[in-house]
């Protein structure tokens, strides 16, 4: 069974997995993994060309065109609002989309988003008509501010980028889901294994964005398939309604029609 479709800035999607295009051992492995993931949205980036990068840029563009996925450009590597805004404007021209995964980093050790610069850049980009997908921390007040600015989608981290540590603070993520029920929420970064993704989806997150966990698996295509199934399973479980936890055991087998000497034990 397939979980329900969802809507991202007016675009209806079936897959709830956004997948990155970086770190794969080869272009062919990237293609196979993205196809296996069934993702409809892939993240891409942009760089100044050097004399040797012209051909690789062409090849990369041809590859991602062949996938037919929606493109979500990022502002990776930006450490100020101004830098991220400039990168977003260039990305809009380059990829012909107003979607932008807005990354403004505040610390080079754990690549933690800078919440203040993120808010500053978000405000300007929304005014310019961008559909902003902010990569943010799981801070509730920050997320509320971003929503107030007009973000329909938020992408809090599960853990720092590339760590594969899963959901470090499930309580904070659960709180976000409860306090921002109408917002589209994806966990972006830190997902290491399919069970991490299931956990986020069972909490009610709408989707997952990941890259390293698939690209650095021994078999990226197989791992992409595993994530695809896990994310669908987690969403189905959320839609089906997970039973509440109890402190006391409750028999699952009915006592009616049992032999009378067992009913009175």
């Amino acid at each position: 069974m397939q979980a329900s479709s969802w809507n991202v800035y007016g675009m209806e999607l079936n897959s709830r997995l956004f997948i990155g295009t970086a770190l794969y051992p080869s272009p062919q492995v990237m293609l196979d993994a993205i196809k296996a993931s069934q993702s409809q949205v892939i993240t891409v980036s942009l760089r100044r060309q050097t004399s040797s990068s012209s051909d690789s840029g062409n090849k990369f563009w041809q590859l991602i065109q062949s996938l037919g996925c929606h493109l979500l450009p990022n502002t990776a590597g930006c450490y100020s609002a101004q830098e991220a805004i400039k990168t977003a404007r260039i990305a809009r021209e380059l990829f012909d989309t107003d979607w932008i995964k807005l990354e403004v980093l505040g610390d080079s050790y754990n690549l933690q988003p800078d919440p203040f610069a993120l808010v500053e850049a978000t405000k300007i980009l929304i005014d310019e008509g961008f559909k902003v997908f902010p990569y943010c921390t799981d801070d509730l007040v920050l997320c509320q501010k971003l929503a107030d600015l007009g973000c329909e989608v938020l992408m809090p981290w599960g853990a720092p980028i590339g760590t594969g540590r899963g959901l470090i603070n499930p309580y904070a993520l659960e709180t976000l889901r409860k306090r921002l029920p109408d917002l589209t929420l994806l966990v972006d970064a830190g997902i290491g294994k399919p069970s991490d993704a299931v956990q986020a989806m069972e909490l009610g997150f709408d989707g997952i964005l990941l890259n390293t966990a698939v690209a650095e698996a021994l078999d990226p295509a197989k791992m992409a398939d595993a994530f695809s199934q896990a994310i669908n399973a987690g969403r189905l479980a959320y839609e089906a309604g997970v039973m509440p936890k109890r402190d006391i055991a409750k028999p699952s087998t009915p006592t009616l029609d049992q032999p009378i000497w067992q009913q009175y034990d």
Binding site: G20, L23, V44, Q49, S51, S56, P73, I90
Partner: protein, 74 residues
């Protein structure tokens, strides 16, 4: 300075200094660089240069001219 140098400008092209004629356009420079990219954006001093203006946009002394291409990203 020779008379030839007076008609030259220095432009930072993709991070490297290039000496160009002072009336060189974006289109001229793209041809000079033999850019065969299928997808790129020209950025001058951090601002996107509109494609429709490539022939009319002349580069100036100390401009920063960058060709931006797609790459993989997470």
């Amino acid at each position: 300075m020779s008379s030839n140098d007076r008609h030259k400008i220095s432009v930072m092209v993709n991070g490297k200094v290039m000496s160009l004629d002072n009336d060189v356009s974006v289109l001229d420079l793209l041809q000079l660089l033999e850019i065969n990219n299928r997808r790129y954006v020209v950025v001058i001093n951090d601002e996107v240069s509109p494609k429709s203006m490539y022939g009319m946009t002349e580069l100036k002394q100390s401009d920063r001219f960058d060709i931006i291409s797609p790459i993989s990203g997470g």
